[in-house]
C-alpha cells in the first residue's frame, strides 16, 4: 500500500448524497480477476453515455459531457469532494480500488458508509469527515475558482485551503499510523516477521516433516 503523508491536489466534485458502491463501480465489473484497472470505469454509468462492459477500451466511448469529472477543469483531480453517506451499499473492495486507480487519494465528505470507510484505509485512500457546513463551503469555494487545490497533511491532521485557512480533521490513531507508513493488514503482520521466523525455526526442529516434501 502507498503511504499517505502529505499531498496537494486538484479538487473535483461528486455533488450528491448517498453515492453507493454500484454507482462508484457498477456490478458488471466485479467479474474481473483483477483489483487494478478499475479507474476507467469509476462512476461508469455517470461518466459515459453507453453501457460499459468489462475489458472494454474506454477511450472511444461517448462521454457524458454534463458529468463534472469529464470537465476539462477537473482533469487530474486527486481529491474528491462529496456529500453525506458516501460509499453506501455493498462491502466490495472494488469501490476504493476504482477510486484509487482513477487517482483519488483523498475524499472529503460529511459522512461515509462504515465498510467503505474501512476499506478506504486498507487501500491507501484517506476519507476525511468534516461538518456538513464546512463541506458545503468547500464546494462553493471550489466552484468559484478554477484550479482549486487543497493541501492535506495527515501527520498534522490539517487541510489548508488556497486562502490559507486551516481546517483540522479527526482520524483514528491506528489507522493514521497505517496510512502514514503504508501499512495494510499484511504490512502490520510483517512487522512481526521476526516472530514468524522464530516460530518457523522452532517448528522446523520439532516437526521437520512440515517443511520437507518427501515425495
Amino acid at each position: 500500500m502507498k503511504p499517505f503523508t502529505q499531498m496537494k491536489g486538484l479538487v473535483a466534485p461528486m455533488d450528491r448524497a448517498n453515492v453507493d458502491t454500484d454507482m462508484i463501480i457498477p456490478k458488471q465489473f466485479l467479474k474481473s480477476i483483477k483489483r487494478s484497472g478499475f479507474g476507467p470505469n469509476l462512476f461508469d454509468e455517470l461518466r459515459y453515455l453507453d453501457e460499459g462492459q468489462p475489458g472494454q477500451d474506454c477511450s472511444n466511448r461517448p462521454l457524458n459531457k454534463d458529468f463534472p469529472l469529464n470537465f476539462p477543469r477537473y482533469q487530474g483531480a486527486s481529491v474528491l469532494l462529496a456529500r453525506e453517506n458516501f460509499g453506501c451499499g455493498s462491502s466490495r473492495e472494488h469501490a476504493p480500488w476504482a477510486l484509487e486507480d482513477y487517482g483519488f487519494r483523498c475524499i472529503i465528505a460529511p459522512s461515509y458508509a462504515d465498510i467503505f470507510f474501512n476499506n478506504c484505509f486498507k487501500n491507501g485512500v484517506l476519507p476525511i469527515a468534516l461538518d456538513a457546513d464546512i463541506v458545503d463551503r468547500l464546494f462553493q469555494e471550489m466552484y468559484a475558482s478554477e484550479g482549486y487545490q487543497l493541501e492535506i497533511d495527515l501527520e498534522a491532521q490539517i487541510i489548508t485551503t488556497p486562502s490559507g485557512e486551516v481546517i483540522a480533521f479527526e482520524v483514528e490513531s491506528g489507522r493514521k499510523h497505517c496510512l502514514l507508513n503504508g501499512l495494510d493488514d499484511i504490512g502490520i503482520t510483517l512487522q512481526q516477521a521476526d516472530a514468524i521466523r522464530a516460530y518457523e525455526e522452532k517448528r522446523r526442529k520439532e516437526a521437520p516433516w512440515l517443511f520437507s516434501r518427501s515425495a
Binding site: 500500500m1 480477476i33 483489483r35 499484511i186 514468524i196 516460530y199 516433516w209 515425495a215
Partner: protein
Amino acid sequence: MAGKTLYDKLWDDHLVAITDDGDALLYIDRHLVHEVTSPQAFEGLRLASRRPWRIDANLATPDHNVPSSVEERVAGVDGIVDPVSKLQVVTLDDNCEEFGIEEFKINDARQGIVHVVGPEQGATLPGMTVVCGDSHTATHGALGAIAHGIGTSEVEHVLATQCLRQRKMKNMLVNVDGELRPGVTAKDIVLAVIGKIGTAGGNGCAIEFGGSTIRKLSMEGRMTICNMAIEAGARVGMVAVDETTLKYVEGRPYAPTGENWEKAVAYWKTLRSDDDAVFDKVVELDAQDILPQVTWGTSPEMVASIDDTVPGPDDFAEPVRKAACERALQYMGLKAGQRIRDIQLDRIFIGSCTNSRIEDLRAAADVVKGRKIASSIKEALVVPGSGLVKRQAEAEGLDKIFIEAGMKWREPSCSMCLAMNSDKLGAGEHCASTSNRNFEGRQGFGGRTHLVSPAMAAAAAVAGHFVDVNELVGGAQ
C-alpha cells in the same frame, strides 16, 4: 486445570504471537489454492511487490470452473467454452507459474476438487493448520487438523505472511455413539447432526466429532462429516487422530517417511482431546436413531428420514421458521404431508467434495450394479473428485457399472455442486445430490436440490423417486 481439547492443542502449537489488539497470529502449515478466490490475492501481492512467504506451503489446483465433460476436457484449458471460466483457470496457471507454486493443472491425473486432492496427496496432514479460500476446507479436519475457509483478502495475507490474524473459537463436541443401521452412512450422520442442531448450531465453534460411531468410520467417511461442519455453522470440523488416520496417511506422496514418519506419528498420537477436557457445548446422538436422510427444503437443516413425510409450517413453533418452511415448500414444489419417498426426481448428481471419493463411488456402484436407472431420470452424473479417484474407479470397473446402468461418467471437477461449469439443473427440476448445499439456485436457476448419501442417490436413480436403499440392496453398509 482442565485438560485441553484437540482444538486447544493445535491452536497452542500454531500460535506465533498475540497482537496489540488481541488478535492471535496463527501459523498456517498448508495453503490450498484454487482459481476462484485467488486471482485478486495474487494481484495484491504484485501491486505491493510482495512474494509468497513460503512457497512450498502452497498447493494449487483448478476445480470450480473446470468442465466435467470429456469433450470439453480433451483440449485442456483451451477447450473450456465459457470465457470467464477459462480466464480464471488460465489466471491460476499464470499466477502459479509466476510465483513458483506447485499446481496440478487441468488434465494432470492429480487434479481434482481441492478438498479431495489435499488428503489424497498427503498434502494435508494431522496436526496441520490448513486454509483455503473455500468454506468446505473444514474437510481436512478429519485428519486431526485445524482446517477452515478464508476470504480473498486473507488468501493474500496467508500468501504474504504464512499467518492469519484470528480469534480463538469455542469448543464444541458432537458425540455419536452406537452401531449404525444398515444403509446408513457418514452423510446421513452429518445430515442428522445438522437437522438436530440447525445451521447456526455450531456458530463460532470448532466442532470435534467423537464417539464410537465416528471412531469406526473410515477416513473418507470422516471427511464427509467434517466437510459439512460449515453447514452446521462451524468453520472448523475435526476428528481426533487414531490408527485409522495413521494408516490412511502412510505412503501418500507428501507424507513424511523414515525417521520423520516416526517422529510425526509420535506427535500425531497426542492429537486427541484430553479425557478431562472441557467443551463449551456438547451434543449427543445415538447412531441407532439415524435412518437414511433426505433434505426436503432449501437449507441443509430442512432434513427428514426416508420414512418421514414433508413437514408443513404448522410443525414449527417460531414464526421465522414457519415462514422459512412455507417459502421452502413453495420453491421446492412440495406439499406438507407428502411422503419423502413420493418425491419424483429428474436428475441425479453423485460428486462434490462431500461425496466423490472412491468409497462413495463404490457405495453408489453397489446399488446400481446390474440395474438400470429409471426412464424418468433425464440425466445421472457421476463425477469423481480427482483424476486419481477416477483412475482407481476405472481400475475397479465402476465406470462400466455406471455407464451400463445409464449414468454418465465424467471428469473430475466441482461440476453440478454449484453449477459454475455447464452442468446445471433446469428450473423446477428435482435432483438427488450428494453435495452439501441445497440453497435456492445453487445447482442452477430454479433447481431443486435434495441432499442425500451416494447410496441413496443411486437408489433414487434406479427408482426414479426416493427409496430406502435397503429395499434395493439387502443389508448394505
